[in-house]
Amino acid sequence: MSENKLEEDHILSADVINSVKDWNTDYSDDAQFADTVKDYKSSIVKKFIFIAFFLVVIVVVTSIAITVGAVNIGFFEVYEIIWQHLTGNIVSDYDYIVFEMRLPRVVAGIIAGAGLAICGVIMQSVLKNPLADPYTTGVSSGASFGAVIAMTLGFTAAFGSNSLVILAFAFSLVPTMVIAMMSRFSNASPTTVIMAGIGIMYIFNAVTTVLMLWADSSALNQIFYWQTGSLALIKGWESIPVMFGVVLFGVVISMFISGKLNVLATGDDSAKALGINADRMRLLCLVLTGIVSAAVVSYTGLIGFVGLVTPHIVRMFIGADNRYLVPASAIFGAALMIVADVIGRVIIYPSALPVGVVMSFIGGPIFLWMVIRRNSSAW
């Protein structure tokens, strides 16, 4: 019976009419599949639009960031200076300021933001904990300990500030190594990792505090400045190669394992059923994030919130699929870092707020807002 005749039939009740309509609807596999594919493609396009959008944001914000500074250099003049430098035709008196001071800082911000963001994504995925960040395993306390040693025991006075970077990097790897060693005796479950990280953090913090008690006021000032995190600690281009190399390595590996992270997120038993050794995978991820975050914080100090907040924000837009979450978080984290740095340099000009402070001001309220509006389907 046609639908029109159904409608005209006054004897049949509405329930019967709806039931007939339902039976007559095409729910064949092909139709459903076509709808699903269409929806899936649409969501993928949205993810790519998100990624592309923030790539554009990075370009725009970077363009602005390079022009910000005490010396008033015009927008186009800045790019003229960069072009002249790259072509070996340096004529401007401001070449040093643009190319050796502002540009390395901005590039470092992009690298640091991307590195810390992907560390946050990986940590939250493998530990299945929304509060996990790059420092959960104690990397920050290890780096802080190394930096404080450098500043209080005269290493920086004797050997320059590279000694601080070296010691911060070396000691920031210690917590990860301890957790790796501990996994011989215990498993590498999320609980184990978090508890071990907290324990290591307290130990390092205690020793760091003792050192700080003996530090003079100048060293304490340096320590405080380093612990807040700042891109002003970037010294020209020499800071870039190691950071870039390690972060690039981290991004590539994390893209490579992003599919496995999705599996791991479903639970250890499911992962094992699908052929993934959950403990080993988790440990490798911890090592990866430990190395990447160590490479960043040893140069920039402890910049917080990027690794914690970025994955949450990005998840709200593109979901929890790590294959897209990882690159999107890297890009968003880079953009966020540059925006925060520009704000810090402008807001109390001529003084500057360290980027770590600005990130805390930005990240705290965002985090509270996300808690209030928590969309548990995305986490």
């Binding site: 010396v71 008196d93 700042s230 440990l283 490798l284």
Partner: protein, 463 residues
Amino acid sequence: MDQKSVIIVAAVIIAVAIVAVGFMAFNNNGGSGSGEDDGRTYTINTELRVFGNANNDKYLNSADVTFIKNIVDGKSAWNSAENPLADVNADGKITSKDYEMVQDYIDGKTGTMYYVDWNKQRSSVDYPLTNVLENGTYGIHSMFSTGLDWLIILGLYDNVTYMSNGDIGPDDLDLELYPNADKLKVFKDIRLTSDHYETFINEKIKITMGDKRWYDDTFLKAVEDNFGKYNLNVIKLPMNRTVDGITWEDTMITLGVMFNLQNKSAGYIKYIEKVDAAIETAIASADVGTKTYIMPYTAPGYDLNPMYVDAHGSGPVLMADVYTIEKLPLTSAVSVVTADGFDAVEAETIIKYNPNALIISSFGYASSKSMTKEQYVDHFQDIADIFRDMGYTGLIYGIAFENCTMAGSAFLLTLAHSIWDDAFDEDEAWALMYEYYHNFTNYKGSLSDLKDSKFAVWENLWY
């Protein structure tokens, strides 16, 4: 997790660490300031720290030229350990080039002057530094209110354009002592990083002077890397803190030469020599005996208990207050673990040491226009009350400024007269103190005004 996997993980971490650390170390650019850094350290035994001061006295003059010429002519031998500054161009030998450079300095010819800095390394400044200012086109930045005193002595006060806010800011400076200080621009951050470097360029500052601790490496690197394009002269000599035995007296003497203003610094040198001679004479002529002291330190907003003390510390940087006060026969009754000797100590601990004298040093009071004499007297009295209530019966003094300042030596004899009144003559003490304020500051009061001013030492001899 099996052993093999753990070993692999550990090996990966160690390998990455070694590669990264090795790259960082290999890539180390150790330069940390303007001028040449040949990596050598110099041990010198003179207050005038410029290369060219061949005879290790306090002046750069023809005597140094003669000294070097005698070596070149074979009339005397060169002892590189005793007279390292004779090798002006640091080529390892004494030649005519060395005395020609000294002669150029004496003649005021534009060039580069080298000196031994607070890292005991060879650094340089444009010479003479007065030319760098190009008749007021460029300015000077100096840290803290005490950093303005040397400018007054050298007659360069009008060239200061920026200061760093530490003890008190330019808004609170006594305008009689520091005219137009309220018009000075200020860096609110004491520590200078690369963030501030652009401001130096933008604000046309070409000379900066301050404490070693407040120049971040990123700032010094920016200065060094861009030297040649923009010559910002960082004078790496201590102003307020004694660094590895280098005192502000050494700095003052060296600054006079760097600016080619020895005619101005010579007066201050002679004054300090007069004070030192008076102290030595008094000690030699009477049996004064060494007394012990502790120097509590106070400032607006500081806690009264525990309170900071200036003492001998574990490192090379020393609060210069200790250095100055120990020109008198005084020995510190305490040392602390911090590197610079500045640490918080409970009042009870101070009492336990039972020093002969407590000499309360402070900063910010003497040069502040808002802090009156009555206020700081009340503040000192509050501190004294704490010690008296705990049973301390020794001498208590209060000084309304840091001992390490230019004014630090001026009050020594008046303090000494109070402690050893038989050995140190009161009239001579006040005369010397007045000489400092009359000749080297903008103070306009009379001797009797000075005796009643906040520069005079506050006494609480017995409760």
